[in-house]
């Protein structure tokens, strides 16, 4: 009980509730990476990443963009011959890097996550325009213009709401969230 956990053990500790088999059962066959539709954008293939975790290459793993590129399509999950929940592993790495404040600069995943939570807490539902400013500047002028064009198209077709949606029992809802994320400002005065 007293030996300091390695990086690999830290990750398996975080995945203690995963429905899949432990990553120790990975046979490094590459089915995940051969299947992955985003692999060409990743600096390490998912299989490689599992190998790196098992080799405790913490800095290299955290510096990798692999888990931010995961599209959660679960195609690797259903094919994995070792029944590893690879998408869950990617989620875990996202959480790890956010919790440790160790995500690489320039990736907008964490910013997006943050924006999303704030949005949910303010209305109980998601609202596309709020998400836009959070990432739009990362694309440069061309991207901005394109986005604006698409958005305008959608707006003209009546597909973008003007006001953010709100659920009716928002106070109850926020107090509910306050039980799960312990931040007092979400729920006003605690009971």
């Amino acid at each position: 009980m007293d030996t300091r956990p390695t990086f690999y053990q830290e990750i398996t500790n975080m995945m203690y509730a995963t429905h899949g088999d432990p990553i120790s059962t990975c046979i490094q066959c590459g089915t995940c990476s051969g299947t992955c539709p985003v692999v060409e954008f990743m600096d390490h293939t998912p299989r490689d990443l599992i190998g790196m975790i098992r080799a405790d290459l913490k800095d290299e793993v955290l510096a990798s963009n692999t888990y931010w590129y995961c599209a959660s399509c679960f195609h690797c999950n259903v094919r994995c011959p070792a029944h590893i929940d690879i998408a869950d592993l990617m989620y875990t790495l996202k959480r790890y890097s956010i919790w440790k404040n160790q995500y690489p600069e320039g990736l907008i995943g964490p910013t997006f996550a943050e924006t999303f939570v704030k949005m949910i807490l303010s209305g109980g539902r998601s609202y596309e325009p709020v998400l836009a400013p959070a990432y739009i500047f990362n694309y440069g002028l061309q991207g901005f213009l394109n986005e604006a064009l698409t958005a305008t198209g959608l707006l003209l077709k009546g597909r973008i709401p003007v006001l953010p949606p709100r659920i009716k029992r928002l106070d109850n809802f926020r107090r509910m969230v306050g039980h799960i994320i312990p931040a007092s400002n979400l729920v006003g005065e605690a009971k």
Partner: protein, 140 residues
């Protein structure tokens, strides 16, 4: 002091655990560590601890709260004082910076934020143990 007090740390962060473990052992406490909520709860059930030091953000989210809540429902574990030590502000309190971390989301005895000063840690631990002793004396 006849037998040293037995403390359990449930925290997934090895760096932090290493730090406080050293501080607590130097102060003559007996310290066990569990690095995930499942092992942690198992340890609580099998060992006899005088105090629990509990992290919040573990596993799938704020699971420390789950552990605390479950303990409070267990007649055998209910009386163990809990000191929550959290880095939640660093971890997810990007939410509304500057404001207080909610102190009473579940009945715990004390909550402090990481990083914690050694003296403060020892003070809190000592105070909680004392309080528990008084409570126990009253009960019997």
């Amino acid at each position: 002091m006849a037998t040293p007090k037995k403390l359990l740390i449930i925290d997934d962060d090895p760096d932090f655990v290493d730090g406080i473990k050293t501080i607590l052992r130097k102060a003559q406490y007996e310290v066990d560590v569990a690095y995930n909520p499942k092992d942690g709860f198992k340890a609580l059930e099998t060992g006899q601890y005088d105090l629990l030091l509990l992290d919040i953000m573990m596993g799938r989210g704020a699971e420390g709260i789950m552990v605390a809540r479950k303990m409070r429902k267990d007649t055998r574990l209910r009386e163990i004082p809990v000191l929550i030590i959290t880095g939640i502000r660093e971890q997810i309190a990007f939410l509304f910076p500057g404001e207080q971390v909610h102190p009473r989301f579940v009945a715990v005895d004390e909550l402090v934020e990481k990083p914690i000063e050694p003296t403060l840690l020892l003070e809190k631990v000592e105070a909680l143990l004392k309080e528990a002793k008084v409570k126990k004396a009253k009960a019997t």
